[in-house]
């Protein structure tokens, strides 16, 4: 796991040394990720490869969401709207307009970003987390209702079925191609988000979250910074939505509902929203646990609820934070 936190108390001089130590870790991880689909599909079951692709998609969605929650301090309860708009745009362009796949793939995140601009225009100007959350949840429900009721465009509650997956990532015979595509897209997107959070803009966004008044008195226009974070996050959520459409080959209105938004919030809390990879850890845990628990019992939500209560009470930094703290204590010899 990446050990960078949002509060790095370290010196520039340490960088080369840390990079040197990390290369073997990254190389091993890279090798594992390359071998994983072959091991899973040939050695275990293609279902687990399907599950792994699902984890990658949620990792991307949760990480993009954390730009808003963890770095921007904005509790959005409507991020499913951007995930869903990305998925629906791509799916409808492929199914209804027979659009070239590359164009459909690009249109998904662009539509999500435009929707993000509209939602952000109204939400970032309100004062207080409650009102912000209310506007985002209302936006999400608007998108859900549009997908549910506008049957002539969206096929209503039937959803868009039989999405034609481009040949180079076809899932008819195997999920391996889609896995590598999703892996490449997710890694690239995570790298871009990483660069953003480590940029001057990222530092100032964190400062704004910490004390908006002080940020104003160094000259920052808070709305502008929050707007950019929100739209960027919506764009990457839209990419996750496109990947989801290809994995499932169908999309239904429930991916635009506020409960779907709630899941990504829970992933962030579970993994640790103050860590760059915290939400990714949360996403992996939730997807894998939900799959395994539901195969043994039907009370998945009860299990998840219990885990979350325990996390909030005893491990407020999330699982990622807990692991990181233990790792740091271990390396210090405590």
């Amino acid at each position: 796991m990446n050990t960078e936190t949002m509060n790095p108390a370290r010196e520039e001089k340490e960088h080369p040394k840390k990079k040197g130590v990390r290369w073997p870790v990254w190389s091993t991880l890279g090798l594992l990720l390359v071998l994983l689909p072959f091991i899973l599909e040939k050695g275990v079951s293609s279902y687990y490869l399907f599950l792994t692709v699902k984890v990658l998609i949620w990792v991307l969605f949760a990480t993009s969401f954390n730009l808003v929650l963890g770095y921007g301090g904005m509790m959005s309860l409507g991020h499913a709207a951007f995930f869903g708009i990305g998925a629906y745009t791509c799916a409808l362009l492929l199914v209804k307009a027979s659009c070239p796949p590359v164009l459909a793939m690009l249109a998904g995140p662009l539509a999500a970003a435009i929707a993000g601009m509209i939602a952000a225009f109204f939400s970032v100007r309100v004062q207080g987390a409650f009102y912000f959350a209310t506007i985002t949840i209302a936006f999400c429900q608007l998108a859900y209702t549009a997908a549910f009721k506008w049957r002539s465009l969206t096929f209503g509650d039937d959803g868009v079925q039989g999405i034609p997956v481009p040949a180079f990532i076809s899932t008819e015979a195997s999920y391996i191609n889609l896995y590598f595509f999703a892996l490449a897209v997710t890694v690239l997107c995570l790298y871009v988000v990483w660069r953003i959070v480590k940029s001057p803009y990222g530092l100032l966004l964190r400062a704004l979250k910490e004390d908006p008044v002080r940020a104003t008195f160094i000259g920052m226009k808070g709305q502008q910074y929050r707007f950019i974070a929100f739209v960027t996050s919506a764009f990457f959520a839209g990419i996750a939505g496109v990947l989801y459409a290809f994995l499932e080959t169908s999309v239904a209105p429930d991916i635009l509902s506020w409960t779907f938004s709630g899941e990504v919030v829970l992933m962030s809390v579970l993994g640790g929203m103050n860590l760059f990879l915290g939400p990714a850890v949360g996403a992996a845990i939730m997807i894998l646990l939900s799959s395994f628990v539901t195969s043994y019992m039907k009370y998945w939500l009860f299990t998840m609820g219990t885990i979350l209560i325990l996390i909030v009470l005893f491990c407020p930094k999330g699982v990622g934070g807990l692991v990181l703290d233990k790792y740091r204590a271990w390396t210090k010899g405590e």
Binding site: E12, P200, Y201, G202, R206, V213, F217
Partner: protein, 249 residues
């Protein structure tokens, strides 16, 4: 020559007249103190000058330009920096990052999304930390600093914007006598080195008389006296406000 000029400024909250017709001039390069008992309207006056509140009446001029309705961000760009009575810093950023964030913004890097912030404006940020004597704590989280260090960090954040006028709201609030003396020296030194104009509010009389070249006294939202420290010390009305009707200097 006045860097800041205030004419007939008024601000009420409901029926309470927090600032009731204040006239004030702050000379360029001067350290100017505002004193007054609790509730005199000092902090409200600061909030009006810095654009945090909108006034009901009156006008404010800064660098010969009327700024009465300007937003804080515009005033920062014009060269006005301020600290707060209750310290405002970024508690979960390191001490270095606190100052670095302010320097990055003032140098126009604010909307840079792809450069590595850790390698930018390191020298100017370190210079400011050295100035406010926090170099040794640069990589600690600022939220764990003691009150005096937090005040100095806030001063550093404010200096990062390269202000011409520094508004300091009770800069020694919560400090020990030793820290207070150190802060007085620090403000005086920075003011001289950077040719800054300083307007500050304070409760501690020894601090005010130790540093200010000119003092304005407020009570119940109005200015009741203004002059050099010697003139203020000899002012009967000020004596009455501070020490009661029976006291005569």
């Amino acid at each position: 020559m006045a860097l800041l000029e205030i004419k007939g400024l008024r601000k009420s909250f409901g029926g309470v007249k927090a600032v009731a017709g204040v006239d004030l001039q702050v000379t360029r390069g001067q350290i100017h103190g505002i004193i007054g008992p609790n509730g005199a309207g000092k902090s409200t006056l600061f909030n009006l000058i810095s654009g945090y509140y909108r006034c009901d009446e009156g006008s404010i001029f800064f660098k010969d330009k009327e700024i009465t309705r300007y937003r804080p961000q515009t005033l920062v760009k014009m060269g006005m920096g301020r600290s707060f009575q209750v310290t405002k810093i970024f508690p979960r950023l390191t001490v270095f990052e606190n100052v670095q964030a302010a320097v990055l913004f003032s140098k126009g890097y604010g909307l840079n999304l792809f450069s590595d912030a850790r390698r930018l404006v390191v020298d100017p940020a370190e210079e400011i930390l050295s100035m406010v004597r926090l170099s040794g704590r640069a990589h600690e989280l600022s939220g764990v600093l003691a009150a005096g260090d937090r005040k100095r960090l806030e001063l550093g954040i404010t200096l990062a914007s390269n202000p011409d006028l520094l508004l300091l709201d009770e800069p020694t609030c919560g400090m020990s006598p030793l820290e207070t003396n150190e802060t007085i020296d620090l403000i005086r030194k920075i003011s001289m080195e950077k040719a800054l104009t300083v307007l500050f509010t304070e409760h501690k009389m020894d601090m005010v008389f130790g540093i200010a070249a000119y003092i304005t006294v407020m009570n119940f939202g109005a200015v009741i006296a203004a002059g050099t420290p010697a003139e203020i010390k000899a002012n009967d009305r000020v004596q009455k406000v501070y020490f009661g009707e029976g006291h005569v200097a």
